[in-house]
């Protein structure tokens, strides 16, 4: 990874749908150089996937998913440690993100469901009952302000004077 790779990543993270011609022009490099860089970041797993960043809050239907941030306390297993237990958790499709963290608890898990009950059941039935889980603490998300560096509401309008020498 060098500076060019990082610049490519920054532009793709801003907008993954930019085409290669545009990216190559912006970075002042040949298109095939760019394509090779992207390919190698894809094959080495630096770029895992291209996805859409969705704002459920403005969906006009009622099927908005509900999210909770769940803190889990763990008593790690000898030899396999935290990773083996983690894999018993993150394989559930309703677990959208899963981090091992420092501090008062061990895992921070982001769980998604269609109702509060669904999430509550999932936490009590599937997570809290795991042998190594010694405690849980759930926080339902009330509002999303910012994700992946993008602010979700109040997109700034252009306040500049339209013409100025």
């Amino acid at each position: 990874m060098d500076n060019l790779d990082h610049r490519i990543l920054t532009l793709l993270q801003e907008n993954a749908r930019r085409n290669n011609d545009e990216l190559a022009t912006m970075l002042d490099i040949e298109v095939d150089v760019l394509a090779k860089r992207i390919e190698s970041m894809e094959s080495s797993g630096v770029i895992l996937k291209y996805t859409a960043l969705v704002n459920e809050q403005v969906m006009d239907d009622v099927s908005q998913p509900i999210r909770a941030l769940v803190e889990l306390n763990i008593s790690p297993e000898r030899k396999t440690g935290y990773d083996a237990i983690a894999s018993k958790i993150y394989q559930y499709p309703s677990v959208k993100a899963h981090f091992l963290v420092s501090g008062q608890f061990d895992y921070l898990v982001i769980v998604e469901g269609s109702t509060h009950q669904e999430i509550a059941h999932f936490v009590f039935d599937k997570l809290a009952t795991l042998d190594n889980v010694t405690g849980t603490n759930s926080h339902f998300v009330l509002k999303k302000y910012k994700e992946n560096g993008v602010v979700f509401e109040g997109a700034a309008n252009d306040k500049r004077v339209a013409v100025m020498p």
Partner: protein, 385 residues
């Protein structure tokens, strides 16, 4: 009342471009590449410092020169950025933007009958501010030397009354910079003819491939150079109205005398925000610069593809495509572009000699807007053929 006003003011024609500006301001639904400022909002750490200052009750005057702590930061910044050593006590004045700095330095320096060399196209404030002092402007057209001032042309424009050379590089409107060897040749001319150099370096930090060289850093130049800089462009702080001038005590103290009466001091919370910009703003500034550079590449290529000859800018966030191939003059092109393609640019002649046949496009706009503007411009240009 008698209609007897300042004769120097009367000698400055009111902007012939007013009508065009009114046209743009009254048009809806346009993409504007006619702006003169960053599209970034001031970085939050800087804004929050201004808010903090207000919350804590920093609502007072400061010393005329500006907060000493800010002048100390500016002094360190000039040293680390450009290798120039200014005394915070005697060689730096905090101003209400470069705009005020230009006004007070010109007033402190010039007498009626003096003349000042002004390579053009250049930012619009210098010509009228020079004339307001009763001095005259000697324009040097840079369009024949790729918008980089030619030291020989400067030298041959010098007369007995010439007192100073104004330089604004990286340049608004062209985006061009002066390469080091040319800058050295200009410095030689200034020294040989005992001229002041007033160097507006407000876009200095926004230099792309080549590192910016301040003329004040060249040997023997500090004592004859006034450096104008500010926070408007590099730190996206236009609304804060904050800048500074650095130079020999003789001229800074005299400019301060005017500033003391006409401005008193720069706003204290803007000064505190500016201090934060120098302390913690570097990363944000570099990210903004990188983003302008990428958008420059995109926009310049688009202009070239549609057949408008465009020099690659070295800095700032403007490019200056030629519209000569369309057969239209700059103002006609710009007016029709607003009406027929709903894209606003600024006609080159606004910036003085050498601007005819060009338009200034500011690429501090989102890539989506730039791409849409390029499509509209291309349809318009193709339709002229």
């Amino acid at each position: 009342m008698t209609a007897d006003f300042s004769q120097y003011l009367e000698s400055i024609p009111s902007s012939g471009i007013r009508e065009f500006f009114d046209l743009v301001m009254s048009s809806d639904d346009i993409i504007s590449l006619g702006v003169g400022e960053p599209d970034f909002t001031t970085p939050w750490s800087i804004r929050s410092e201004a808010i903090y200052a207000l919350e804590k009750g920093y609502t007072t005057y400061t010393s005329n020169e500006g907060l000493l702590s800010l002048r100390e930061s500016i002094s360190n910044y000039c040293q680390s950025e450009w290798g120039i050593n200014y005394s915070p006590e005697t060689e730096i004045l905090v101003t209400n933007g470069v705009s005020e700095g230009a006004d007070i330095v010109l007033r402190a320096l010039l007498n009626p009958g003096d003349s000042v060399i002004l390579p053009q196209p250049a930012y619009v404030c210098y010509d009228p501010l020079i004339k307001l002092t009763g001095a005259s402007v000697i324009p040097v057209d840079t369009s024949k030397s790729n918008f980089v001032p030619d030291p020989k042309a400067i030298e041959s424009a010098i007369t007995d009354s010439t007192k100073a050379i104004v330089l604004c590089y990286p340049n608004n409107p062209t985006g061009q910079s002066i390469p080091r060897d040319v800058l050295e040749a200009i410095a030689k001319v200034a020294k040989a003819n005992d001229l002041w150099v007033l160097s507006d370096e407000i876009y200095g930090e926004l230099s792309y491939e080549t590192e910016f060289v301040s003329i004040a850093s060249l040997p023997g130049m500090k004592e004859r150079t006034i450096l104008f800089n500010g926070f408007s462009k590099a730190y996206a702080m236009t609304g804060f109205r904050i800048g500074y001038i650095c130079g020999p005590e003789s001229l800074i103290s005299r400019a301060t005398k005017i500033h003391q009466y006409s401005a008193l001091c720069a706003s204290i919370f803007s000064q505190m925000a500016a201090a934060e910009a120098l302390k913690n703003g570097r990363k944000a500034m570099e990210e903004m610069r990188q983003s302008y550079q990428q958008r420059r590449n995109l926009f310049v290529e688009g202009c070239r593809k549609m057949g408008l000859e465009t020099a690659m800018p070295a800095g700032a966030f403007y490019c200056f495509p030629s519209v000569k191939s369309t057969g239209l003059d700059s103002v006609t092109f710009a007016k029709r572009l607003v009406k027929e393609a709903r894209v606003a640019v600024v006609p080159g002649p606004v910036f003085g000699d050498g601007g005819e046949g060009h338009i200034r496009c500011c690429y501090a706009a989102s890539t989506e807007e730039l791409k849409e503007a390029l499509i509209r411009m291309e349809v318009f240009v193709k339709g002229l053929k």
